[in-house]
Every structure is written in C-alpha cells, then in structure tokens.
Symmetry: C2
Subunit: 344 residues, 2 copies
C-alpha cells in the first residue's frame, strides 16, 4: 500500500486539499476545529508529506549540496560535522557529493544538483576555476571553499595557509630555531604551495636558513625526509612539515634515530589532526577551527540563498597550537590568532 497523499487526507476528512495544506502548515485562516480534525485524519492515515513535491511547488528544497574532493581523514569529517550542525540549525539538509579526480565526470555531476539543492558549498581544489565556473549553473547560489585561485570575485572562503606557515616559522624562531627544514606537500597542491611560500617568506624575513624537501602529504614521506637528512649528515634544528601526517612520520623517524624532540630538533606540522594530541611528544601544529570553518560556509550560503549580497573572499587564518614537539617561546604566541583581512 503506497503512502497516503494530501488528496487521500482531503477525501477522508471531506475537505479540500487546500484546507489540508493549510491545516498542516499552520496557516491562520482556518477554523481551529477543522484544523484539528484534519490533523487527526492525517495522523490516522499516517500521512507524511512528500518533500519532493513540496520542493517543486515551493521552488525550494531546503537542501544544500556539499562538494568535496575526498572523504579521507579527519579534516573532512570535522568539516562535515560543522556544516551539519549549522545546517540543521537553519533547517537545511545536506546532500553530499564527492568529486573525485576525473574532472569531466565530476563537473557534469554538478548538473545533477540542479533542482535538488538550493545552493552549493564547493570545495574543489583539484579542478581549474574555468572548468568549475563553466558548469556551475549561474542561478545556483554557491560558495567556494579553498578552491583554485581565480580572477572573478565570488563568494568564497579560504584557509590562509601563508599566514599559518608564517606563524609556525615565527613560533619555531621564537623557540630558538635557526635552521629549518620544510617538508613540502605535493607540488600540484595549492595548500602545499601556499604553505611553502609562507615558509619561504618568513624564513627570508627572519634570516633563517631553509632547506626544502619534497613530500607527498603521506606519513612515509616524513620518514623518508628524515632518512635523507640522516644520510647527508645535515645540520638543522627544526622540521616543519606541510601537514601533520608527514610531521608524524618525521617524528617517529627522529625517535628511532635517537634524536631528542624538541631538544635537538623541533617538529611542527599543519592541520591539527586529532592524532597530534595523542602521540608523544604531542605535536605542535597550526589549524583553523575546521568545524567552525564549515559552519561559516553554510551560514554564508544560506545568506546567498536568501538573496543577500555577498561577493567577498574571506580568509581564515590558522592559529599555532603549541605542544611538546617544539620549544616554547617566553611569550606565548598561541593566544592571538593572526587574522588577515581580505587580500588585495
């Protein structure tokens, strides 16, 4: 037996569909006793409105699409968590869409969102903005999160990786480090590029020696980097890995090599994955509040859907989360997050 429709309820209650709709949606222009009667009938029939039909006639789905490149790891679960919390507060649902590498298939999949969601949070660092814009329906409100850089001004949210890297280097320098090794992330990755750039800028400005080793964001490349340094007999007093995974790999390798952290070599990562708190020594890292970041994206998107004028690029600067793996400076730098304003 299929689900009851509004017409079934109307017939059963001997009223029109309009009255049923009014009764169930709390309209005021209906006689209270009729309203109650209709509600009783609806309950008795186990009537549950068909959201799809409702969305069609209201031209509003109360759903927002979340486009992410991946779901691996805690970053995305935190991001989703923040988005979900905010969305449910605003009465919105979340339609999840993972856009894997293949740009063509993924980009056309954006089309499938039309008529399914009211707007999109798009996190697509792996495709060029041209491809992205070409396939984002212009009438679809959307906010870009950590996407590839582009010329057009659009509603956008971005982690300020440069500022984060600068903050980490400053923290290392404040702890007395002078010869920094940076384990970079994949060359094609925007985040990795920006973190490298921030490191370079800060080292240059502070007069620190900098050595860059190539990594790939995986734990192994941190281990490999330390092995390289060991065989070379290189002199350094700090390792700043472009993400926590690599930092953990480096940390483990240093431990095995009998090098004291942070006494001989300080280690810092980036992202603040939960693991960083648990290992010993606990890892110093930099991070934004990921859940808040996600929530913010949802808030701005909700504004866009409601027609708000919002066309600006907003940066979130990470703060340094100082832990055991680095020497603490006398003045604690963790307290005042550096917030950059909009750049340009």
């Amino acid at each position: 037996m299929p689900n009851a429709t509004i017409r079934d309820v109307a017939r059963e209650a001997s009223v029109s569909v309009a009255s049923v709709s009014r009764a169930l949606n709390g309209a005021t222009n209906i006689r209270p006793e009729l309203r109650d009667h209709i509600r009783d009938v609806a309950n008795r029939l186990g009537y549950v409105p068909h959201a799809g039909a409702r969305n069609l006639s209201l031209a509003r789905s109360s759903t927002i699409g979340v486009v992410v490149p991946d779901l691996h790891g805690e970053f995305f679960s935190e991001l989703l968590r923040g988005m979900d919390r905010q969305a449910s507060e605003l009465g919105l649902h979340l339609l999840l869409m993972v856009m894997h590498g293949e740009a063509d298939r993924g980009v056309t999949a954006l089309h499938a969102m039309r008529g399914r969601v009211d707007g999109l949070v798009v996190m697509a660092p792996q495709i060029t903005s041209d491809e992205l814009f070409a396939h984002l329906p212009r009438s679809m409100p959307s906010i870009l999160v950590n996407c590839a850089p582009h010329a057009v001004v659009r509603p956008e949210l971005r982690v300020d990786n440069v500022a984060g890297a600068v903050a980490i280097v400053e923290h290392l320098a404040a702890g007395g480090c002078r010869r920094i090794v940076h384990i970079a992330g994949p060359e094609a990755n925007i985040d990795a590029q920006e973190r490298l750039r921030g490191t370079q800028e800060a080292c240059a400005r502070l007069g620190l020696a900098l050595r860059v080793l190539q990594g790939d964001f995986n734990e192994d490349s941190g281990t490999t980097a330390v092995a390289t340094l060991q065989t070379e007999g290189a002199a350094y007093d700090a390792i700043f890995a472009a993400n926590d995974n690599m930092a953990v790999g480096a940390l483990m390798a240093l431990k095995r090599a009998g090098i004291a952290v942070p006494e001989q070599v300080a280690v810092a990562g980036f992202d603040n994955i939960p693991l960083t708190r648990l290992i010993s020594p606990a890892l110093t890292t930099a991070s934004i509040d990921i859940a808040e970041f996600g929530a913010r994206a949802v808030v701005r998107l909700a504004g866009l859907i409601d027609g708000a004028a919002d066309d600006h690029l907003e940066w979130r600067a990470p703060i340094v989360i100082a832990r055991e793996s680095t020497r603490q400076p006398s003045n604690n730098t963790t307290e005042n997050p550096i917030r950059r304003g909009d750049r340009e």
Copy 2:
C-alpha cells in the same frame, strides 16, 4: 534570468516537450537529426533538467538517506567514504542526516526524508527499536546498521563483536597466553557487552583463566586497570581491552611499570583506530573494513529499493590485525577472517 525549462527548449526548437524529453534521455524512437537539433538548442540555452521535477514524475530520487548518530572521528568518515564510493558507482546520491541524542526531534526528522530519498541506511544505536520502527515509514526501504537489538526480522547489518573478541582471544592463546585480563567497556554499551561475551565464551572453550575488570572505553580506565593488577600482584600474561583507547592506556601503564610487552604481558585492543599503528609497540587489535561495511549497506539498500527480497541480519566479523604488542603464533591467524553466518 531563471533557468530554462523543458518547455523553453521545446518552444525554441519548435517541437513538443515530449520530443525534448526523448532527445535528452536517449530514447530510440526519435529521428537522429531531430535529436541532435534539440540537443543543440538545449546546450545553447544552457538547459539543465530540474532533478526535483524529474524525481516527482519518476517517483524516484536516486538518493539514499544516511542516518548516523554522530560525525566525530575516523569511523564515520570511513563509513561515509565506503558508502559514497558504492553509491556513486550505482548512480545514487547521499543525503546526510545526523540524528543527535534527542530522540523526539531526530525521529520526526526521519519524516522529512519521505519524498526526498528512495531508502535509508539507519545507524541509530542510541534509540530503541520501538521508537525507530514507529517512525520509519513502512513503505520506505531501509537497512539498519548496528542498531539496538530487536525482535522483528529486518534487513540489517551488524559488526560481530562476539566473533571479534573470540578471534582476539584465540590469537592470544595461539601466542601462548593462558591468563587473560579483559578490560570491559561500559556496562550499558551493546558493543562492550558483546565483546565481553565473546571473551568469556572463548576463554571457557579454550580453558583459559579470565579476569574481568570494569572500564569505560576511555584511556584512563586502561591505566587504572593495570594499577589495580599491580597493587594486587595478580598473575596474568595478556590484557585484552574492549577498545583501543583502553588498550593504549594499559600499554602506557605497563611500560611505566617496566613490564615488557609482549614478552611478559601481551596487549590487544579493538577497533583499529589510527593511533594503534603509530605507538610503540604497535597495538594488536581487531576491526572490520569500515569502508567495505558502508559499501555493503548501500548495496543491500539498493537491492531493497529495486524490490529485492532481503530480510536477513548479516554479520561482519572483524579480523585480527596482529602487531607488535602480542606474540605471533606460528600459523598466522590474520589471513583468514572468520565469517560467521547468520545467527539464529
């Protein structure tokens, strides 16, 4: 300017809406040149079909709802990852819904899924099955994942904690352990109860001495348990904690007490949290393939949606992931996952 509709395309191409629909959906009963012409016009107008309208007339949304109690931690991101992979393979979208503690609000939120999704994967260990069934529309295909136990037979998927605990105990026994200490999880927790039961069964069957200490799934309770054993001067050669957190606590406490792991005492946990690989000695643990678990739920749900008869409870038995914290038996038990058939 709003998006073009199928009627706009029809007018512009001087054909009927039926022809447009046929052209764009690859029907065969249309003249190829007309089909191409319509496609050209559609492209020129930037026509993207309205999925909501399509769903309404097809009575099918190609979307499945995923109900989870939380999004914290790696378990859920892995689960989602597996579901997403499978769903996108089957051409399905994922609508995410987090059902927080408050049963009433969450349970009625299930109603909002009607007409929005074709079926549900429900993971709701925190609410009783009565509440759950009362609010699951009967016509809504759904598969329960690790839900509270209940009498009715339903499509269901469950981690076989009993089998996992048995496997761990067998692994410990194979490594020569004879006096097992089990640190149990919270008494009210289903998983904890089942793991305890498996431990008891296996120890009885294998003739091993078993001592059970109460824990609470937190790291501290592992530490406390070891402290208790120390002050008692108890004799034991293995600790099996009902989850990894407690195992890690126990491991650290043993280390501090100067007890060699695994030589004097073997340690095993449950869940395979990422940390277990990274600590030293790496922790032996038991776990299912979470992503595969999620994917399986989606496959079965897709079957249900297509009308397949599927009313059975399926168990996934964890496999032992043998690492440094236990003595390895001569024949490796990690290779053959023990798969239990349906119980009862």
